[in-house]
Amino acid sequence: MLAFAETLVIITGGIDLSVGAILGLSGIIGSLVLVTLTTADHSLTAGLFAGVIAAMLTGLLIGLGNGLMITRMRVTPFIATLAMLGIATGLTFVLTNGVDVSGLPPVVATLGNAVFLGVLTVPIVVTAVIGIVVGLYLHRSQFGRWTFAIGSNARAARGAGIPVSRHLVKVYVLSGLLSAAAGILVVMRLGTGSPLEGSNDELNAIAAVVIGGASLFGGVGTVLGSVLGALIIGTIVNGLIVVGVQPYWQTVIIGVIIAVAVMLQERGRQKEAA
């Protein structure tokens, strides 16, 4: 799911380092709202509803913050979303003191882990549906066309009458919303709100997108490619665990994968320019 968010942003030629932090913070805020409301004797459905809204609102606001910093204050995406990464991660720990949010109604975990048709769970189905919608929208709609055009040549896009700044804000907001949705799904899977969730996930998302064929220079990328990239990374990581490599090596390896992929891209670009 985070890879979908990152795909959109990277196609514009930007980057979103805050996706993992948004996942964490929105999961925590959603959990806190849910726990507070249900212990205060509100109905369960109202609590679930409010929790989901609160989580999505968190993602929306952080994405909006990213987008406005980048377009209005002309901060580079790297720095703007790095700042948001810090803010969101910090807030997550401020709100929880580093302790899990427990006491969520059991229905959350039940919903999150119920297996049907043998392999499917709600998080898997939701992720697949969102992936298909995002993919169709990115590759078939005007919104998607403009996203590619901006990443390819932002000045040409502006010259063609595309409201570039407004569009970029929308992309970062969408990235925030998708990350928040991922946060909700993680809480459903775990049955608790953990402040540690999402840390380093931006690394996995960026790696998945880059392995999936997107260019960090913008203008190129597909949702399907990013899904394959995520599967490849998942396979590598699981394979390492199976052969007994310490899990601490995970981020090292993913970092190396990103570095190699970007090096190959830069080579390809230079060849093209020559």
């Binding site: 929208y137 709609s141 005007q142 919104f143 066309r145 040409a156 896009a157 063609a160 409201p163 203008g219």
Partner: protein, 253 residues
Amino acid sequence: MLSLKNVGKRFGSLTALDAVGFEVGAGEVVGLVGDNGAGKSTCVKIISGMFQPSSGHIDFDGQPRVWASPHEALDAGIETVYQDVGLASHLSVDANIFLGREMKLPGLLGRLGFLDNSGMRSAARADTHRIGIRLPDVGAAVGDLSGGQRQAVAIARSISWARKLLILDEPTNHLGVAEVEEVLRLIGRVRDQGVAVMLISHTLPHVMAVTDRIVVLRLGRVVAQHVTKETTTAQIVHDIMGASEEEIAAHVR
């Protein structure tokens, strides 16, 4: 139709345009010439909404207008081929021709923003055919084309959309002899359809051949305006370079 009055543009401490004023009438072909850095492209970008003037104003169709963005100028019927902006190289030829004005599918899907790609493809083919510009297949990515082919796409794009004014900033760069002839012929055809044209070029014979009037910019100022029929290339060269070497030396210092 278009008239610039006292238009100035500063970039920090540099004055790129200083009290520039000239007019372009409906269906008129006006040449804008000047040495490198004279301010021609800056002037173009102010008329097309890419830049906002630091001072002065623009009248278009009798209304004072300052475009906040290229979008507004495009809406008003002004199309521009920029010297230094180019196309979206990862997108196909037809995607570039329809960029910002995409055709959508009919019905609900269209309202959701879904594109009518096959419609755009055939319309782009028909457009380029009607204009008579030779292009490679419209499905090809612009990044895979030669410089001249890209320029042809940019020109085809702006000609097919221009309603009131077509601005061409050094459109014959990268073009071969035959293509240059083609562009000059197209300028005449666009004018015959009642669309005004502003041609920016360093190649004075081209400017002399197709324009009705010529505006000369030097160091950000309009230093001369001529009716093309009543002037000579030598006169224009003289105006471009300035009356005296001292003046140039003074500016450089």
